[in-house]
Symmetry: C2
Subunit: 429 residues, 2 copies
């Protein structure tokens, strides 16, 4: 016997339309497997008269999102509007009314996730958000369930497809950052205003959500240190290749033995043998290090209507099954994380600087490193006419000491400019 579950959909853009299509296409298979018949019964959109890529019965579309949430005929609410308001308000209303919510909204979760988790806990209903991080890749459910008994130490992800596409073009074709960005824009991988992607804000929201779930403590977008990829040059990438690395934009969440959480987004040099180094084009991947499980990586499509809708649908089926069983799986109330300042990061670093090519320069430069206790692992020098380019890889050092070293280097008369600084993934201590 079938059991009909009525879905109220808030938003019908790329992901929403793909979800409607998937529910229509796979509905029979889902019913055969779960006994549940999913029906998208109400869909709230801003513009009711706009043409949609999917066919919806008359009367399903409305511009009144609040009415969809309040409709007693709606069992589960799916939110794919994005942004903080009105999504926050609508989700809180649904949870208060005892309706499970599935959302793909990273911005919302990275800013007011705790408020939503508490409301879900209070209402005794599911709040599921697999699609909010790394699109179609199963990540949140493995973190919450498969790794429920695991002490996770660090999660490093390539969680922004746009920047990974740009870096792949730079790495494989020697394209400049500007050309690779323009290509990504022309293919629709990058927005006209690419700030959110290239400056690391999008990845930062995802890093906050990952850290919250992996470490069971509230981390918000504002806690995340970030640097973008606009400063990465083809010269950096050439050096990286020569030294056995690829350059990737990483979102890193890690926890110290004393429970302090570090969360950061920045370009980094990743050793070629590391599984993240082979993640090409617009693919995403999340690398997890745990005490017992060792190293895990989850790889796939981090964006796009269909992959994201696939993750929403998995959550929707889960929420519907739980609803019918009268159960739910809440995150609970998360304590606020103690955030480790970026100054306390310990990492190896790559530094690229142009100096005057004359006697004593290397002595002066290396003196600044020594003064701040930053130990050099390897150095190479390249002549450039009047100038020389110096490339350093340091041993593991404190971020604050490296920043002091950089300030000291910039103060030297013989240093013309610091071209780039990249953190190096490897033998962190």
């Amino acid at each position: 016997m079938s059991d009909r579950v009525h879905v109220g959909l808030l938003g019908c853009g790329n992901v929403g339309a793909a979800l409607v299509e998937l529910v229509q296409r796979e509905g029979d298979a889902i019913e055969a497997r779960t006994g549940l018949s999913l029906a998208v019964s109400r869909v709230a959109v801003r513009n009711v008269s706009r043409e949609r890529p999917v066919a919806l019965p008359d009367g399903v579309l409305t511009h009144d999102a609040g009415a969809v949430v309040a409709d007693p005929g709606v069992d589960v609410v799916v939110e794919v509007i994005g942004g903080i308001e009105p999504a926050r308000h609508l989700i809180l209303e649904a949870l208060k009314a005892g309706k499970p919510v599935v959302t793909a909204n990273k911005e919302l979760l990275a800013n007011v996730g705790s408020e939503l988790f508490e409301a879900a806990e209070a209402g005794g209903v599911d709040l599921l958000f697999e699609a909010a991080v790394a699109g179609g890749i199963p990540l949140i459910r493995p973190l919450r369930e498969s790794l429920a008994g695991e002490r996770i130490r660090r999660v490093m992800g390539i969680v922004n497809g746009t920047t990974n596409y740009i870096l792949t073009r730079m790495s494989e074709e020697g394209a400049s950052y500007a050309d690779a960005l323009a290509e990504a824009q022309s293919l629709g991988y990058a927005e006209r205003d690419p700030t959110a992607d290239v400056e690391g804000y999008d990845a930062g929201s995802k890093a906050a959500i990952i850290a919250s779930i992996a470490f069971g403590a509230e981390v918000v977008a504002g806690d995340v240190y970030h640097e973008g990829i606009a400063g990465v040059t083809t010269a950096d990438i050439e050096f990286a290749h020569r030294l056995g690395y690829e350059v990737k934009l990483l979102a890193v969440a890690e926890v110290d033995d004393d429970g302090a959480v570090g969360v950061r987004v920045h370009p980094a040099m990743v050793p070629r043998e590391h599984p993240l180094a082979s993640v090409r084009e617009s693919f995403n991947a999340v690398f997890i290090e745990g005490d017992a499980v060792g190293e895990l990586m989850l790889y796939g499509r981090g964006a796009g209507g269909m992959p994201t809708a696939s993750a929403v649908l998995g959550d929707l089926i889960d929420a519907a099954v739980n609803l019918r069983r009268g159960t739910s799986a809440s995150i609970g109330v998360l304590p606020r994380a103690r955030i480790r300042p970026i100054d306390e990061l310990r990492s190896a670093y790559y530094l690229n600087l142009d100096v005057l090519d004359r006697p004593g320069v290397l002595h002066a430069v290396s003196g600044v490193f020594a003064e701040h206790g930053v130990s050099i692992r390897s150095m190479e020098q390249e002549g450039l006419g009047e100038e020389a380019r110096l490339i350093f890889i340091t041993h593991v050092a404190r971020e604050a000491d490296v920043q002091a070293t950089l300030a000291g280097l910039r103060d030297l008369d013989v240093v013309d400019r610091v071209n780039s600084v990249l953190r190096v993934v490897g033998d962190e201590a």
Copy 2:
């Protein structure tokens, strides 16, 4: 308030001892997160007096596994004995008694999984087995839950760490198969009798379980076509590199549009850009292709006490939480899969043969391909004194036609021997 859940553990080898250690070490953190206090209260072992790497209170160890299952104080049963009997009988008893079961037993599931799934369904209790395939990698839960609405087309996995270690040594150091196997044995990666690994039986059991879960139809170990890696030579790997491939032992499960399921294990040439090609050493990875989600890969440690115990612990927490909530998530009763015979496989092939180096040979050889409708995509010839070596990559062809071609080639006077045949991953049609 804490709720104590008593675990009966069947078997205390590598994985069992690691589980006891993990429960002891992470118990407080698990309790803080879930409110459940896990206690390993009874442990059944063959030899009670043998020394164990973990400390267990007096009276916990017993040689009577049946008594552990029947003990009214045991809430959840964890089976890590391996093999079919007595594991099958003990698990059926537990399920009948309404006790959830967590097992890491691939052989059992690949042979009598359906019987166990039915017993779990009848008893209304969980039967969880994340650890049975690909060790610590979250695979079964993502397939069952995250991808619940996904139409999965194909799953390709590197699911045997021993053979991947051997192939990595051959690929990266040019080691012979025999030397790489001996090295794996000396490191404890391969058994003294390596048959189960190198002939693909271990991977075959995992392929059967993956196919059953991915396609919702019963596939057993006996349904799996398999070829091992003993015939792979360093020459094959050199050719693979030159042509842009790595050689990997793949477990492949795929479903046709008409619902026929193909399941096979064999060495294959994998394009270097494919994510599976970068899976090195003893790591495992499973690559999933779905209609909506596109391509996914899940990567990690496929074996070892701690990674496997981590997966068992995730299941154990899940089972304990469900038990306390009075719910369970069964696989249900799976219909028998319709198995596609290997003859109907469509793939590209690599063929390596030695022929006499004289006029007309290529004409005779290519005639055999043409006779059976196998179209050649590329060919190269290498002189070897009196002989020549011919390397062919075919377009996608039917397995039966390729086998007929091979029979025809072996019948030719000018063909001295067929050295190797490998399937090629790529543009399958």
